[in-house]
């Protein structure tokens, strides 16, 4: 943990000293996180890269105000989330819009899945991706930060400036909706 903080401090000091390599390392290290937030919240592909650029510029410019009271990833995640929220507000896009309820009911049948069936399910990642894109932006982001970026509830709560309980509720609701959406997927139903 201390090593992690030291590495972050070293990176921040490098950027504050104007080291170009530190800039590149910073961008490279956090492109994944920023990209996940932006690509989950912003639907328009033309705006995504510009928004990512703005987020990194804002992060680097404001880095001297970072106090190491949280992880650097949480701090950048919050900037990314706030930028996306501002973008959505500007375009009057809903953050938590109603979903189209095309998904069918879950059919229940007894039986354990075989490991190969679970492996088969991995091939349906594209359907999962499509289903995720049918969730509201807020749910998409929480699901991605939790499952892909492996962030804790606390970190997500700090990024999204909401209580941990709300993050948990949103995550559970999002996954329930996802599962319902995916029950239309043949492979998923077979499990």
């Amino acid at each position: 943990m201390t090593e992690h903080i030291d590495a972050e401090k070293q990176l921040v000091n490098g950027i504050l000293a104007g080291n170009k390599d530190a800039y590149e390392l910073f961008i490279e290290r956090y492109t994944g996180l920023v990209g996940h937030i932006v690509f989950r919240m912003v639907d328009n592909p033309a705006d995504r890269e510009d928004l990512c650029q703005d987020i990194f510029i804002k992060s680097i410019v404001n880095l001297k105000d970072f106090r190491f009271r949280s992880q650097l990833s949480t701090w950048i995640g919050r900037i990314a989330y706030n930028c996306c929220i501002n973008y959505m507000k500007k375009l009057k896009l809903p953050l938590l819009d109603d979903m189209n309820s095309e998904y069918g009911a879950v059919e229940h049948s007894a039986g354990n899945p075989a490991p190969d069936q679970i492996a088969e399910f991995n091939e349906t990642a594209r359907q999962v991706e499509r289903s995720i894109m049918r969730l509201p932006g807020l749910y998409r982001t929480i699901v991605t930060l939790y499952h892909v970026d492996e962030m804790s509830y606390k970190q997500i709560a700090e990024i999204m400036q909401m209580p941990v309980g709300t993050v948990k509720s949103c995550l559970f609701r999002a996954r329930k909706r996802l599962k319902s959406l995916l029950t239309g997927n043949k492979q998923f139903q077979e499990i």
Partner: protein, 169 residues
């Protein structure tokens, strides 16, 4: 038969096989395992959630342009890391100037100061005009200038260390 709730099922699915996830399912809790041993419906739901979690671990498909980092660095403003005179610095500076002005107005005979700076001004008009204004300010008013400065300073410090701190990571 009472089935497990969806939340219980998700917690269970998270707690078994997804170590990095934070499922609240406690180890050794037999309430769920006993139920799952006899309930095919709940078991199926657990398996569906497990499959979903596996699928979710895949990174979403997206990519930025190859020279993204260089573009960002190219767009950075010059002197990006120089210490800027921020809003906090401005409020602190104003407070201190007001306090100094208050002290001067209260303790020092301003006419002496004006005489001292008289070579700076081209004519007597400005000096007379300023002397009239200063003479017009009552002693209590000068004292208010000082206390006003103290209050401004207090507000600036309170804002920076108490209010802004809440939102600073």
């Amino acid at each position: 038969m009472n089935h497990l709730t969806d939340r219980d099922i998700q917690e269970y699915a998270e707690g078994h096989g997804f170590r990095h996830l934070e499922g609240d399912f406690p180890e050794g809790n037999t309430k769920f395992t006993d139920h799952l041993a006899v309930c095919g419906r709940c078991r199926k739901e657990v398996d569906q959630y497990r499959a979903l979690f596996h699928a979710l671990e895949r990174s979403p498909g997206w990519e930025l342009s190859g020279n993204f980092a260089k573009t960002v660095i190219g767009h950075l403003p010059r002197n990006v890391n120089s210490r800027r005179f921020t809003m906090n610095n401005y409020s602190l500076a104003i407070s201190i100037i007001v306090i100094i002005a208050g002290v001067l107005a209260y303790f020092i005979d301003i006419s002496l100061l004006l005489d001292f700076f008289s070579p700076v001004f081209p004519g007597n008009f400005k000096l007379n005009f300023m002397s009239d204004i200063i003479a017009f300010i009552p002693v209590r008013g000068k004292f208010h200038l000082f206390t006003g400065g103290i209050m401004l300073l207090f507000v600036a410090v309170f804002d920076y260390y108490i209010l802004q701190r809440k939102y600073r990571l």
